[in-house]
């Protein structure tokens, strides 16, 4: 697998009035060519901040890289100047955001917004750019693209605007597309259409996608691999099957059990008690321990390192240490594990 992006030991803090907010506290992951990596987490987990750091979109006055590197195309993105980053943004790495209302400039016809990146990054004439733009609109499923080029964002629906945003982001065939909760604000049927579109385009353009979301259903639909973030760190990372059918971190268990499944019926939903940690003063041990019924004494003292579960699957929890006691995950998680060859609870004969 060719690695197209490598994030190593990334640490980033915000210098605020109240002090230093450690938004990212040591994040490691790679992005392979052609795959979709989903980053899952809740508010405050650091998932948006991580991707904005890759794009260097955070205000330089308050956001500070404390450690680590982001390797792309043989260069460390954390060390590049803004001018050099401008050559990368929109061309090599593109980003789409959650709110299609505010992602588009309301005072510019969408045709211009589409040709803008083309003209900036590529040496083509205005007419050629227009042609490419029309093709892009057609590619994202917009009917009558020639007419719509002259229209303004407010004349489109939410789903249509998101299609335009996707078209703009893919205009220069970027190597990486970062999608930050692109379907969260959309209705379920529109969401389904947009996800189908993205998967389709990914195959056509052969781009790698980092997909941020808090919706595990969407993750199951789009992801090849999944990274679960909590409190500024990745707590578990693996293939989509490994994460959904053989999760190892109590937070992942919590997330999976707090969603009703078709079998839940009347059983009480497992709810993770409490709230995410305050990153102004992060706990020195395992950040999730305070909310976990599986907490160990060591969780209060030291942050767990990553323990390998398979070549593609690791989790940062002391529960995977050889000396740790065997614990029983929540019932819904056990039900999932029953279907996964290689898990403790696998029923179904030999692996």
């Amino acid at each position: 697998m060719e690695k197209i992006l490598q994030v190593k030991n990334l640490e980033l803090s915000f210098n605020t009035q109240g002090g230093e907010v450690k938004a990212i506290r040591g994040v490691n992951f790679d992005l392979n060519k052609g795959e979709t990596l989903a980053i899952v987490g809740e508010s405050g987990s650091g998932k948006s901040v991580t991707t904005k750091s890759i794009m260097r979109l955070l205000p330089e006055s308050s956001a500070e890289f404390k450690n680590g590197e982001i390797l792309f195309g043989g260069r460390d993105l954390t060390k590049l100047s803004d001018k050099e980053m401008q050559k990368i943004r929109g061309k090599e790495i593109s980003m789409i955001f959650q709110d299609p209302m505010t992602s588009l400039n309301p005072t510019m016809p969408i045709g211009r917004q589409l040709t803008e990146p083309l003209l900036k990054h590529q040496k083509i004439s205005k007419n050629e750019a227009k042609k490419v733009a029309i093709d892009l609109l057609r590619m994202v499923g917009m009917p009558k693209p020639e007419l719509r080029m002259k229209q303004y964002p407010h004349q489109f629906s939410g789903g249509q605007r998101q299609r335009i945003v996707i078209a703009i982001s893919l205009a220069c065939n970027p190597k990486i597309l970062i999608a930050d909760e692109p379907t969260t604000a959309l209705d379920v049927t529109i969401q389904a259409q947009i996800l189908e579109l993205m998967k389709d385009l990914q195959k056509k353009i052969d781009t790698s996608i980092i997909f941020i979301t808090h919706d595990l259903g969407v993750v199951a639909n789009v992801a090849d691999r999944v990274a679960v973030m909590y409190g500024g760190k990745i707590v578990e990372i693996g293939t989509v099957d490994e994460i959904f059918y053989n999760p190892q971190h109590p937070y992942t268990w919590g997330l999976l059990s707090s969603m009703p499944s078709l079998d839940t019926e009347d059983a009480k939903l497992y709810a993770i008690p409490g709230t995410p940690p305050d990153l102004l003063d992060p706990p020195k041990g395992d950040a999730f321990a305070l909310r976990s019924e599986y907490a160990l004494k060591i969780d209060m003292e030291q942050n767990p390192p990553f323990f390998k579960v398979s070549d593609t699957h690791s989790a940062a929890t002391w529960l995977l240490h050889p000396d740790a006691p065997q614990v029983e995950p929540p019932l819904t998680v056990i039900e999932r594990m029953k279907k996964f060859p290689g898990s403790r609870y696998y029923e179904g004969g030999a692996v």
Partner: protein
């Protein structure tokens, strides 16, 4: 046979009537809500589910139609006292945990507002006690009473909103997308709380949401809305296992579930209202296909759906 708590009959809520931008948010819907049940109301943006909730509780004056609460009409000419009576019986929980609490008021006063308006506490000691009890009921601490909303997380604020609604001891609560703005793990906290409260206090809920999995979990019956109309109404299990209206089928087929194998095999159905080919002559209304399962259809469609389900 369960008692009916609410009867909504031919409710219509139109905005900007007669003008070019007339919006028929709720367009002639009828359904009943039984005592002690949780009725889920789902649909996508613009379908009118929130407007329905707000019309029932009379935040809007209905354009037409009636809402009967225990036999009494909520709409129509009413005195201030009558309206106040309804305020004690029906309450609402809102979607936005940030905008639903007055930033300038202390939690104590926010929760006690209903108590103050209706004079439910004889003195300030009793008032305080009532607020503390309510805070405990929703899983928060007494100390929180002296704090301001901005000091709480989203999930905690939603619980404050629930405490506020409970302060007047209502029988019926409309929950208008109460968990949409919350993180997944916090949603479970709030949903569990609502279920607990329902058991303890015998509350009746109208649960408005667009997250279909959560709605199925919490509701006894579910109504599906599409552009101001109710297209299907059935017990929760029945709706999911046997959706009859093509829109419901399309909606359910679009939900992604946290199960990669299911996702790999899921095929989405799309819905086009034109397939019905309704004409002026068609009498399109809610018809009962099987006990408790209603679908909006014409006479023609009714026959075909009925025969299809019989042959199943």
């Amino acid at each position: 046979m369960a008692e009916k708590l609410l009867e909504i009959k031919n409710l219509k809520q139109y905005f900007n009537i007669g003008k070019a931008n007339e919006v028929r948010a709720v367009d002639d819907i009828s359904f009943d809500i039984y005592k002690g049940e949780t009725l889920g109301l789902v649909g996508e943006s613009g379908c009118g589910k929130s407007t329905t909730g707000r019309s029932i509780i009379r935040l809007y004056d209905a354009t037409d139609g009636d809402v009967f609460y225990e036999g009494e009409n909520v709409h129509g000419k009413k005195s201030k006292q009558d309206l106040k009576k309804f305020n004690r019986k029906m309450q609402m929980i809102f979607q936005d945990p940030y905008a639903s609490l007055n930033q300038r008021m202390k939690v104590m006063d926010i929760i006690a507002e209903g108590i103050d308006i209706h004079g439910l506490a004889k003195n300030s000691t009793e008032r305080k006690k009532m607020v503390y009890d309510l805070l405990e009921t929703v899983g928060l601490n007494k100390e929180h009473a002296n704090r301001y909303p901005h000091e709480f997380s989203g999930g905690q604020r939603q619980r404050l909103g629930i405490a506020r609604a409970l302060a007047v001891d209502p029988d019926f609560i409309i929950a208008d997308e109460p968990i949409s703005a919350l993180d997944v793990s916090i949603q479970a906290q709030v949903v569990n709380l609502l279920k607990e409260l329902q058991q303890e206090k015998g509350l009746t809920f109208l649960f408005i949401a667009h997250d279909l999995s959560m709605v199925k979990y919490i509701s006894d019956r579910i109504g599906v809305m599409y552009f101001g109309k109710l297209v299907e109404l059935a017990p929760a299990e029945e709706l999911y296992n046997n959706p009859l209206h093509p829109y419901t089928q399309s909606l359910l087929s679009a939900i992604p579930l946290p199960d990669p194998n299911y996702e790999r095999n899921r095929i989405r159905k799309s819905y086009d209202p034109a397939i019905h080919k309704y004409t002026e002559a068609d009498d399109v209304r809610m018809r009962e296909i099987s006990p408790g399962h209603f679908v909006q259809c014409s006479e023609r469609e009714f026959e075909s759906i009925k025969s299809a389900s019989v042959s199943k």
